[in-house]
Amino acid sequence: MPHFIELENVSKTYKTGEVETPALRDVNFITDKGEFCVVVGQSGAGKTTLLNLLGGMDTCSDGIIRVDGEVISGYSQKRLTSYRRFDIGFVFQFYNLVPNLTALENVELAAEICKNPLNAAETLEKVGLKERMNHFPAQLSGGEQQRVSIARALAKNPKLMLCDEPTGALDDETGKQILRLLLDFSGSDGMTVMLITHNAAITQMAKRVVKMRNGGIRSVTINDEPIQPEEIEW
């Protein structure tokens, strides 16, 4: 049975004029459907590049990326957009909410363009923002904004949820609540969650941990007994 995500010898090189900067070198790994996967590494290890490639925001220079049986590494810009639209949910470190839209509207904005979106209000209720869904981002705390961001990703009903340092701008307690949410949603409807972070502590709660260094995979470990986010010691 094929894996949900398969990367075969994926490389990415950025070209600026004549200078070539390799960001990813020969990356190979897999993730199964419904897994909670954490990619960890120092700054410049290539984890964001990996996330960008998986999210269809960038294309790889070499190798094959397969998601849910489709080879996305050969997609055109337009197909990549469709891929982002229908298959991917994205949670950003800085939330990236549209400042001019209320929490609810931010979620609706994403839901509106999908085939089988979840109800925006219900999704917000699930992330615990029932009472504050008509507030504007600037009226919400960082944690609340990130919840909206998660709700926005969830409402698209994606196959794969990609989270880029979702707790990076949050305090510990709020960060744990966010991780809890992500964990809760992983596996439901077969949704796979992939989270990248430089914070090794978070790896404790992941099923699969991918450690990166210098643009390559250092190790992939399967954590048979992941702990609950609340128990993580930072």
Binding site: N52, K78, C114, A138
Partner: protein, 990 residues
């Protein structure tokens, strides 16, 4: 101090954002182009004209008099401190015939005098000056073809002229040797005259020997103390105004002097004549008496002679008898002697014989005496007869002499009596003092330049407002974009001034570049284009550019400051913050609900994306207003351009298709017979057309508000009020009803009513010039104000004219309207064969003349439309660009969320489309008002532009250009949208 690295930073900023830099350059250039160009035009026009006036030594005053001027007048005038110099001249209005036709022209001759200075110098278009008698120069200024002569043409002063006029002239035939342009006539309309058709068709210069007249008829004066004053300056106008008043006083004095001299001279002459007469009479009659005495004496002598002769005859008779007796005695004595011969002694015989011989001798002597006496008597009688004849002749002569003397002296007495009567008639002459305003076109040109200046104060302001707004927005955005950088530089210890310097330099570099380009283009394009347009009406040399430094300087200052000041304000606001605060991203604007959301039933129905648009539009209020005002300004300017064009080009169409319905106009040679000219009427009867006789008279002044020197106003008298509507449609301006011309009132044309500020029911006072120089005035009620675009006309019925303004009108023109097709060539030719027809003109000639004249304005309009379109592009480009760069993060997020390119574009552009449409709608409304204002200020004197004539096409084009500009800008910007890099944009919160 600005460090090297800061300089580098500035260069990089310019090169890394070429589009922004260019946007500021272009928008500044556009503003400066229109602002400087349009304002430079009027001064350039004025300077060019002023230089021409100065170079040609154009007169400042012109004096005319009803009796002419003599040397003493000229000398006295020269003595006045206000005159620099005086040039006596001759002039006469004459009817001439030329190869191309004929009509009224004004003849000029400058008298030669001791002063070397020239006046009203001519520009030679062709040919040479006058060298011999019988040569002339002719004016080039005419679009009436009647008197357009070529070199070598012979121009003849016709016999139709008044004898007073012909008496003034020594030469009546001239050969054209040069085509000239006189500064006295700078327009094609040369003024009115009392001969011919009432309008001067051209002017001619001849040598002074062509005039045979003892006085000068015109004096040209150059004012003293005017220095380098511009003819258009208030100082000059004040100087000349004062001069005219002083000259009028002077004129009054001189006129009185003339009167006194003429009166006293005549009186002395008459007294002398009377004295001479009485002396002569005495002498003549005494001579006659002497002659009579002599005759009487002669008669007496004759009678005496006769008596003497008769007495002599008696004596002779006695002598004859004595002689006969003596003879008989001798005979007896001889007989006796012979009988007694023997008886006698010889002595006795000898004695007797001697005695007898003595007796015979004595008798012979007596007989001779007798014969002599008879002869003497005969001679005496002959003499008497001669004398009697002599006396009879003498008496006849005397009788004739006496009769002649009686007649002669009676005549002389009458003459003296006439002389006294004439003396009583002598009046103080009238002097007329004019300044340059009396020169045709002089005033009109000044007001045309003024009108362009008025236009220059409206349209460029809009351009500037819009460009300043866009610069403000752009620079504010630039400062905000570089917030973090500013923070960093500040944290590194650079002073505020140094940091500000960078932005100021950026703004200055862009605006200075733009200002230089705009000013250079503006001062070249506008004056030349507008001058070309006015050249159709004015005869002036080529325009001289860029005279006005002040305009260049203040345009430059305004252009640079309108960019630099907003930059300074934007910088100052940001630099006040602490550097730490600057390095943090600016707190996002709190989203806000818009008013529309309160209207839930509408809000709910809106599509989600529309709601977003509504929110976004109102999120940034300053940008909302800038976009609205920017687009509004562009659309308003576009609509103004197109509207101006509609109003202008519509003039010819409306005037000649809806108001003047005639096909042709005929001018008659002799007005007195016109109406009854059988030859003409027969010709017209054969042409299947309707004819309307009319008389057109130039009005001198209306209600003392408008005079013939400022406006050419005609009084039009149609002969037949019933058929006039076939030829001229009097449309009521407001109600669009048709007006009818009724006896007892007048209809006046719209623009004249505007000038006079009168409405229906008001009274106007019309004054017409009479040939003797006097005026006739009549106050009449305005019965209607009629639509009219070309010229100013007051319509009056013949009855009213005759009653209020004098004589029965002499119809000198005919309007023709053809029932069938108008085959102009054949028809006009056949009409022109009629003796009394001076000219027959196809109305379409006027139509195209007017259309040509107005086409000149077209160029200006296209510049405005072009500039407005360019402005629309730059404004929309800039605003869209700002909108995108400002929200790059939001757009990147949308892309990550899986929005297709087309959806992202729609998301951004929907806002700008909505704003463009609203701005455009506002612009259409604003444009209507701006058009109205611009039209009124831009009109020329004798033309009225159509009011409210903006066509649907113009609205359409304004809308289309605005929308297409927006869409082109959007199309250009899609590359920018596509290039937004999701990865980079999401990395940090900056």
């Amino acid at each position: 101090m600005v460090t090297k690295s800061l300089w580098k930073n500035i260069y990089r900023d310019i090169f890394s954002s070429v589009s922004r830099f260019l946007a500021i350059v272009i928008i500044t250039a556009l503003g400066a182009f229109v602002f400087c160009g349009l304002r430079a035009t009027a001064p350039d026009m004025e300077n060019t004209a002023d230089k021409y006036y100065k170079d040609s030594a154009l007169m400042d005053y012109r004096l005319l008099s009803s009796v002419g001027f003599d040397e003493a007048d000229v000398e006295a005038l020269r003595e006045l401190p206000l005159t620099e110099y005086v040039k006596p001249a001759y002039r006469a209005d004459v009817l001439v015939s030329a190869p191309s036709g004929g009509g009224a022209v004004r003849l000029h001759a400058i008298a030669s005098d001791a002063e070397e200075k020239s006046i009203n110098d001519l520009i030679f278009i062709a040919g040479r000056g006058i060298e011999n008698d019988g040569e002339c120069l002719i004016g080039s200024a005419t679009f009436r073809e009647e008197i357009a002569a070529n070199i070598g043409d012979i121009i003849t002063i016709t016999d139709e002229n008044k004898s007073e006029t012909l008496d003034m002239l020594a030469t009546r035939e001239f050969t054209v040797v040069g085509i000239v342009q006189s500064p006295l006539y700078i327009t094609n309309f040369l003024g009115g005259t009392d001969i011919g058709s009432g309008s001067l068709l051209n002017y001619m210069y001849v040598g002074e020997s062509a005039f045979d007249i003892s006085v000068y008829t015109e004096l040209f004066v150059v004012a003293a103390d005017k220095g380098e004053l511009s003819s258009f300056s208030d100082e000059y106008k004040d100087l000349i105004g004062g001069g005219v008043t002083a000259l009028e006083d002077f004129a009054e004095t001189r006129a009185q002097i003339w009167y006194d001299r003429v009166y006293n001279d005549a009186l002395a002459e008459l007294t002398d004549a009377e004295n001479t007469l009485s002396e002569e009479r005495e002498k003549a009659y005494s001579e006659l008496a002497d002659a009579k005495q002599k005759l009487d004496d002669g008669e007496q002598e004759i009678a005496d002679g006769k008596a003497e002769l008769e007495a002599n005859a008696l004596e002779l008779e006695a002598a004859r008898i004595k002689i006969a007796d003596g003879q008989r005695a001798i005979n007896d004595a001889e007989n006796k002697l012979a009988q007694y011969e023997m008886l006698l002694t010889p002595e006795q015989l000898t004695e007797a014989q001697t005695e007898l011989a003595a007796q015979k001798t004595a008798l012979n002597t007596a007989r001779k005496q007798y014969t002599d006496g008879l002869t003497a008597i005969d001679e005496g009688w002959k003499k008497i007869e001669d004398s009697e004849q002599e006396i009879a002749d003498g008496r006849a002569k005397y009788e004739t002499g006496l009769r002649d003397a009686d007649i002669e002296f009676a005549k002389a007495e009458n003459e003296i009596a006439d002389g006294y009567a004439e003396l009583a008639e002598v009046k103080v002459p009238t002097w007329y003092v004019y300044d340059r305003k009396s020169n045709p076109g002089y005033d009109g040109f000044g007001s045309d330049a003024g009108r362009i200046n008025a236009l220059a104060l409206t349209i460029p302001v809009f351009f500037f407002l819009v460009s300043a707004l866009v610069c403000l927005t752009t620079m504010t955005r630039m400062v905000e974009e570089q917030r973090t950088q500013i923070g960093v530089i500040k944290a590194l210890g650079f002073r505020r001034g140094q940091i500000m310097f960078k932005f100021m330099l950026y703004a200055t570099a862009a605006s200075v570049t733009g200002a230089i380009i705009g000013i250079a283009a503006g001062i070249l394009v506008f004056p030349v284009t507008i001058w070309d347009a006015y050249k159709i009406m004015y005869r002036l040399p080529a325009v001289e550019l860029g005279g006005n430094v002040w305009i260049i300087v203040n345009t430059f200052a305004a252009a640079v400051l309108s960019t630099v000041i907003p930059t300074y304000i934007a910088c100052r606001g940001n630099l006040r913050e602490m550097s730490a605060a600057l390095m943090r991203p600016k707190a996002p604007k709190i989203g806000a609900r818009v008013l529309l959301e309160r209207i839930t039933f509408i809000w709910r129905r809106l599509k989600f994306s529309h709601k977003v648009t509504a929110r976004n539009i109102f999120l940034n209020k300053s940008r909302l207003f800038m976009t609205l005002i920017g687009v509004m300004g562009c659309t308003a300017l576009l609509l103004t351009g197109f509207g101006l064009r509609n109003s202008i080009t519509g003039v010819a169409v409306r005037q000649f298709d809806a108001i003047n319905l005639q096909d042709a106009e005929v001018t008659l040679r002799d007005a007195s017979t016109g109406f009854d000219d059988s030859e003409l009427n027969e010709t017209l009867a054969g042409l299947d057309c309707s004819a309307l006789y009319y008389r057109k008279i130039q009005i001198d002044a209306v209600s003392d508000k408008v005079t013939s020197t400022t406006l050419e106003i005609n009084l039009m008298i149609p002969e037949d009020l019933d058929s006039v509507s076939k030829f001229i449609r009097f449309n009521n301006v407001r109600s669009n009803e048709e007006l009818t011309l009724k006896p007892g009132s007048v209809i006046i044309t719209e623009k004249l009513a505007e000038w006079l500020k009168i409405s229906v029911g008001d009274t106007v006072t019309i004054s017409t010039i009479r040939t003797d120089g006097g005026n006739r005035k009549a106050s009449l009620t305005v019965a209607g104000i009629s639509e009219n675009y070309v010229g100013h006309i007051i319509y009056i019925s013949p009855e009213t004219y005759e009653r209020e303004l004098g004589d029965a009108p002499e119809y000198d023109g005919v309007l023709l309207k053809f029932n069938g097709d108008f085959e102009r060539e054949n028809i006009l030719t056949s009409i022109l064969t009629v003796d009394n027809v001076l000219s027959a003109l196809d109305i379409s000639v006027f139509r195209s003349t007017v259309a040509d004249m107005l086409k000149s304005m077209d160029t200006l309009v296209w510049i405005i439309i072009g500039s407005a379109t360019a402005l629309a592009f730059v404004v929309l480009y800039n605003l869209t660009n700002i909108n995108i760069t400002e929200r790059i993060r939001e757009l990147a997020t949308l892309k990550v969320l899986g929005f297709y390119e087309v959806e992202v574009r729609r998301y951004v552009y929907r806002e700008s489309r909505v704003l463009t449409v609203f701005g455009m709608l506002l612009g259409l409304v604003g444009g209507i008002f701006l058009t109205q204002y611009v039209i009124v200020t831009a009109e020329v004197d004798n033309i009225m532009f159509l009011r409210g004539a903006i066509t649907p096409l113009s609205y359409g084009l304004s809308v289309v250009i605005t929308l297409v500009s927006a869409e082109i800008v959007h199309w250009v910007m899609r590359r920018g949208l596509t290039r937004i890099n999701m990865v980079d944009s999401l990395k940090s919160a900056e």
